[in-house]
């Protein structure tokens, strides 16, 4: 595989990519170093999911797309995922190119930055450099992380200054389109101290796309800041997605993360939250629904570094047909994080004999005066529950639907954005058929 890589993405190609985006030298060096590492490193070792035959390297990594002047030029299946009324802050990237963005003047005048990374790094280099790929992901961790760092293209940078509150969610959409491509989306979010913001990020592809998506979201939640972020992934059947989400939470800050891993193909989802500041609080919720031959391996980790930090991890998976998911939960309480409280629960509901699910909760505790708890379950729909519901006149389909939506309700019902909740409900219904 490393031979393919060297042929496909050589130093020249990466240098050209960096230059075409007018990137500073440090960024190019960052890329080249990662490129070199990528050829040496092996794929990540995932528990119970074989990925050695997944396509991670056969694609065109830098497919440029022309910008559009209005969201009306987007196809309906993409445009319905975003709201582009006056006053909405929107960023749309197609393959390697940011194609549409809008930021209301009222926000720009308060110092809010929401733009593609090339522009951001030209206009706010120090700010971008301070946070760029520093949320705890390591480029030399394995081949996929290194590849992302080397090949990241387009990408969005969101910065909300100190003490600024933005109610309306920022919307970012990354769209993989066409055959034989690879995309390397990157969303970098910085909430400065005492700011408040909401983000909805959509990661989508054309239904016929066989894209390889290797993307990362990094979020920095400043001291006493409050961030609510939801990312929804609905890539098509022939796609392979590796998604990294890294968050650093500051002192007395509050984070709510909702991850919808609802791809129709293959998914590696790797999420780590670092509770750095004391007194910080994080609620992390994940939902995955698999049908057909889908495979997903989802790891949700929370590292407590600060004192009196609290985290709550709630993950639900529903598998039908021959779909398989592995849910790993890791709550790690580091030495010094006294009075921390970390709880987690992963649950899988299987709807068919061939579906498979696995829930692996792990608690790692290096401090004495802490609280931690975990729960995990893997099971099938209880036929007696279905009998009970049907005995009141509900059809089998409606009864199953109630049980399934009841099962995911601890995640779904708490999603703060109604349109997103409807969107996720719609995808789940599509998957359940």
């Amino acid at each position: 595989m490393s031979i393919d890589m060297e042929q496909l993405f050589d130093r020249q190609a990466v240098t050209k990519l960096s230059q075409s985006q007018q990137e500073p030298k440090w960024m190019l060096e960052h890329r080249l170093k990662a490129l070199e590492a990528a050829s040496q490193l092996s794929l990540p070792k995932l528990q119970k999911t074989r990925i050695d035959h997944w396509n991670f390297t056969q694609f065109d990594p830098i497919r440029k797309e022309p910008a559009i002047s209005s969201s009306r030029e987007l196809p309906e299946e993409i445009s319905r995922l975003i709201s582009t009324d006056a006053g909405d802050a929107v960023f749309v990237q197609k393959n390697a190119s940011p194609v549409f963005q809008s930021l209301p003047d009222t926000l720009a005048s308060q110092g809010v930055i929401f733009t593609d990374i090339s522009t951001a790094v030209r206009e706010h280099e120090d700010l971008v450099k301070k946070y760029w790929m520093t949320a705890g992901g390591k480029a030399d961790e394995h081949k996929l992380a290194a590849l992302h760092t080397a090949l990241v293209s387009g990408g969005a940078f969101l910065y909300v200054p100190r003490n600024v509150t933005v109610d309306l969610p920022f919307q970012a959409l990354f769209w993989a389109s066409g055959k034989g491509i690879g995309t390397f989306p990157y969303l970098l979010i910085v909430a400065d101290n005492e700011s408040e913001l909401n983000v909805v990020a959509n990661f989508v592809s054309d239904s016929e796309s066989d894209a390889v998506i290797n993307g990362a979201v990094e979020v920095f939640v400043g001291d006493q800041a409050r961030v609510r972020i939801a990312s929804l992934h609905t890539h098509g059947e022939q796609t392979t997605e590796v998604a990294y989400r890294r968050t650093v939470v500051g002192r007395d800050a509050d984070l709510e993360w909702i991850v919808g891993d609802l791809n129709f193909g293959r998914t590696i989802s790797d999420n780590t939250t670092h509770m750095k500041g004391s007194g910080s609080n994080a609620r992390i919720k994940g939902i995955t629904v698999g049908s057909g031959e889908e495979r997903s391996n989802i790891t949700s980790a929370v590292h407590h570094h600060g004192k009196a930090t609290e985290s709550d991890l709630v993950i639900r998976g529903v598998m039908k047909d021959q779909a398989q998911t592995i849910l790993n939960g890791i709550t790690k309480i580091e030495k010094g994080a006294s009075q921390a409280n970390g709880v987690q629960a992963e649950k899988v509901l299987m709807l068919s004999k061939e579906a498979r699910g696995d829930a692996n909760p792990i608690l790692l505790i290096d401090e004495n005066d802490v609280q931690a708890g975990h729960a995990a379950s893997v099971g099938r729909v209880d036929p007696i529950q279905i009998f009970y519901l049907m005995s009141r006149g509900l059809s089998l389909r409606e009864a199953e639907r109630l049980v399934i939506f009841g099962f995911v309700s601890p995640v779904l019902d708490t999603i703060p954005f109604e349109s997103l909740r409807e969107q996720i409900t719609h995808v789940i219904e599509r998957k359940l058929g």
Binding site: P383, Y388, G393, L394, V403, F407, S409
Partner: protein, 262 residues
């Protein structure tokens, strides 16, 4: 439907895991009638209730059941319910994440059919009224279906569903077990409020106590998987006073259960 409901059970045989529990039950229940099925534990009373509703673990191996002339045994569970059969269960399931009121509204609408859904206002009014009648706190509407309910709360919730769904034939499976006297009265009042020519009742109990509050028209004693004795309300009173031994003696039954406890 204008006609009075009629449930007929002919020579019903039911097995669980190859073991025959019911060995030929015959009953006819008409609208306006209350039938009580009595008998000691392990004689097949609950099996009758579950089999009529179509519980997946119970296999009907012989006989017929008709509701208003239609073959019940050919119907799926939900179809039986939509045709007007209702079973208040002894051990109702708990369904996480589904609120009582959402569930009830789905059930009512399933019966009414698409395009004829009940208005939310009308539904809420009706629900408030019935919950009030059963002395249920308003919060029950928004609690998850039976989740964390006490035994008594579950029983009231079953009766609430009965009142809301207004079935043609209602089967109550030991709805009195585990209830204190006040709760028992509430449940009985609920049932009595539905006593009308459009509803027939089959009430399964092994205590006479419930029948002090719900006066049955007919009483049937089940032993060894069959109806061994039928009579009027006076039969229940005699069972209360004298127990079941005299029935066994009269019929020459030594062990009234279906072999070992079922």
């Amino acid at each position: 439907m204008a006609t009075s409901p009629k449930l007929t059970i002919n020579d019903l045989h039911v097995s669980i895991e190859e073991k025959e529990i019911l060995k030929g039950i015959d009953l006819e229940i008409n609208g306006g009638e209350i039938h009580a099925i009595m008998g000691p534990n392990g004689t097949g009373k609950s099996t009758l209730a579950q089999a009529l509703m179509g519980h997946p673990r119970y296999e009907v191996t012989g006989g017929q059941v008709h509701l208003d002339g239609e073959d019940v045994l050919e119907m799926e569970v939900d179809e039986r319910a939509r045709k007007g059969l209702f079973l208040a269960m002894q051990y109702p399931s708990e369904i996480n994440g589904v609120t009582n009121s959402d569930f009830l509204r789905s059930a009512i609408n399933a019966k009414r059919g698409e395009g004829n859904e009940v208005s939310i206002m009308k539904f809420m009014k009706q629900l408030d009224k019935k919950m009030d009648q059963l002395g249920m706190d308003e919060s029950f509407a928004n609690r998850y279906l039976n989740e964390g309910f006490s035994g008594g709360e579950k029983k009231r919730n079953e009766i609430l569903q009965l009142l809301m769904l207004e079935p043609r034939i209602a089967i109550l499976d030991e709805v009195d077990s585990g209830l204190d006297i006040d709760a028992l009265k509430v449940v009985a009042n609920g049932v009595n409020s539905m006593r009308n020519p459009d509803t027939g009742f089959l009430i399964i109990t092994h205590y006479q106590r419930l029948l002090n509050y719900i006066k049955p028209d007919y009483v049937h004693v089940v032993m060894q998987g069959r109806v061994v004795k039928s009579g009027g309300p006076e039969l229940a009173e005699r069972l209360e006073a004298e127990g079941y031994d005299w029935v066994k003696e009269e019929l020459g039954i030594e062990d009234e259960t279906v072999e070992s406890q079922a």
